[in-house]
């Protein structure tokens, strides 16, 4: 769920833009270097961007809820492609979703980048990386990354909403309320993301171990 256009007041929208653009610039610099070294990798970059876009629209059954929902996909993308590329591609995907589906917005783009692209990618990748360091198996590490990335995305979104909507209540209380009210749906979603991310990474490993071990595509 992305924050729609018009919800954030101008100052907050602008405020979220600042860190978001910094991360985006870093991600773009990474892609730019890649394209400078291998100009013919352009289609691969486009395909990866499309992958992030499509995965975040992919149907995944949610355990317990009896529905089908969409994963954030950014933790998965970060694990497969590296967190910086995932931020840049996530930002592009968010912009295209805003333009095509009115899902998200232009002024709220910065806020959404920060929650889904930056939060999802870095926390997802960080947890995955840390878990691997601690000796967790590939599937478990990737699953934890997916779970953490998903929850963090929603924590950040809730905070952004709380900041914009708290009114006379305290920010903290509103945040907790918002996050808490997402919980009944969000916990199963995060679990779905856990299974999905873990499953995809293990699947890719089983079919093409050479791609995952090859560090060239990692951060």
């Amino acid at each position: 769920m992305h924050i729609p256009e018009g919800l954030l007041p101008l100052d907050q929208a602008a405020g979220w833009y600042v860190p978001a653009m910094a991360f985006l610039a870093a991600g773009l610099a990474k892609l730019k270097r890649l394209l400078k070294e291998r100009p013919q990798a352009r289609p691969l970059v486009g395909l990866m961007g499309a992958f992030v876009f499509v995965v975040s629209l992919m149907p995944v059954p949610v355990p317990g809820l009896g529905t089908v929902s969409h994963p954030c996909g950014t933790p998965l993308a970060a694990i497969l492609l590296g967190p910086f590329s995932a931020v840049a591609l996530g930002a592009v995907a968010l912009l295209l979703q805003a333009l095509f589906f009115a899902h998200g917005g232009i002024s709220s783009w910065g806020a959404n980048i920060l929650s889904m692209a930056v939060g999802g990618s870095f926390v997802g990748f960080g947890v995955y990386w840390g878990a691997r360091r601690l000796g967790a198996g590939l599937g478990i590490a990737a699953g934890l990354g997916g779970l953490a990335g998903d929850l963090v995305t929603y924590a950040i979104t809730s905070f952004q909403l709380a900041l914009a909507l708290h009114g006379h209540e305290s920010i903290g209380a509103t945040w907790l309320a918002a996050f808490g009210s997402f919980m009944p749906t969000q916990i199963p979603l995060a679990i779905a993301e856990l299974f999905f991310t873990s499953g995809v990474v293990v699947f890719v490993y089983r079919r093409r171990a050479d791609l995952l071990s090859g560090e060239e595509m990692q951060s």
Partner: protein, 255 residues
């Protein structure tokens, strides 16, 4: 939510009056309206924007249901905002619903915000419906957006439809072999699907890299927009005047 979405490709085709206006003009106008929408303190600007965008949508050629579907997401969010503001905003209590007090200020503020969300959403919908993305990208390039960003957007745009079609084909193939006949199987199949899609991305990236080398491997974001025409200048002036007037009226609070 089901897996079948409306195809973006349907939306991306532009026709009619708005389709002919230069994307730079539309981009500037959209930005102006979005800013007015955010800074206005009275609902006047929002109501005016919704009315204007509504008219433009009706005048356009996108199929009717699709136009409505596009504002579905902003609208749901608007309802959520009204409800949460009524409960949380504080101020004078006008009723209570179970454990919740309902606040009058909150209700009004929520309604105002929801107008803002719908107005903003409609501006974006009109922009998205009337401008093919590659033209929008040329406009972004003209406004000095970094080349690499425009490049990535265009490349991504090129592959979204292909990859989505591929995903749906592969999922259909799974469905015909009963891979989605229960939730557990669906979850297992969705992982195979995500993984297969990634592998396809990788292999296709390699194949296309070869094809690209043969034709020079330059940027795809080449080309430029022609000079503004007469209709473009008129549209620009009209949009600027309207945005300025709305900004003045809604900021002055003299309504």
């Amino acid at each position: 939510m089901s897996g079948r979405h409306q195809s973006p490709s349907v939306i991306a085709g532009a026709s009619g009056f708005l389709g002919r206006i230069d994307p730079r003009v539309k981009l500037s106008a959209a930005a102006a309206f979005l800013i007015v929408n955010l800074i206005s303190r009275t609902p006047l600007a929002q109501v005016a924007i919704i009315a204007l965008m509504g008219l433009l949508l009706l005048a356009g050629r996108t199929p009717y249901r699709r136009r409505l579907l596009l504002i579905a997401f902003p609208s749901t969010f608007a309802i959520f905002v009204v409800a949460s503001q009524t409960v949380f905003h504080g101020g004078e209590v006008f009723a209570s619903l179970g454990p919740f007090d309902l606040h009058r200020d909150g209700l009004f503020h929520g309604l105002f915000l929801s107008l803002r969300i719908i107005a903003g959403g409609m501006v974006i919908v009109v922009l998205g419906v009337s401008t093919p993305l590659h033209r929008l990208c040329l406009a972004m390039k003209w406004f000095r957006t970094p080349d690499i960003f425009v490049e990535v957007v265009l490349l991504t745009y090129r592959y979204i439809f292909d990859l989505r079609a591929q995903l749906l084909r592969m999922r259909d193939a799974q469905r015909t072999r009963l891979g989605w006949s229960s939730r557990g199987r669906g979850l297992a199949s969705s992982r195979m699907l995500g993984g297969s899609l990634f592998l396809e991305v990788y292999e296709r990236g390699l194949r296309s890299a070869e094809a690209m080398r043969c034709r020079g491997a330059g940027p795809v974001a080449a080309g430029s927009l022609p000079q503004l025409g007469r209709i473009d200048r008129w549209a620009l002036m009209a949009a600027a005047a309207l945005a300025a007037a709305l900004a003045y009226l809604s900021l002055a609070g003299s309504f």
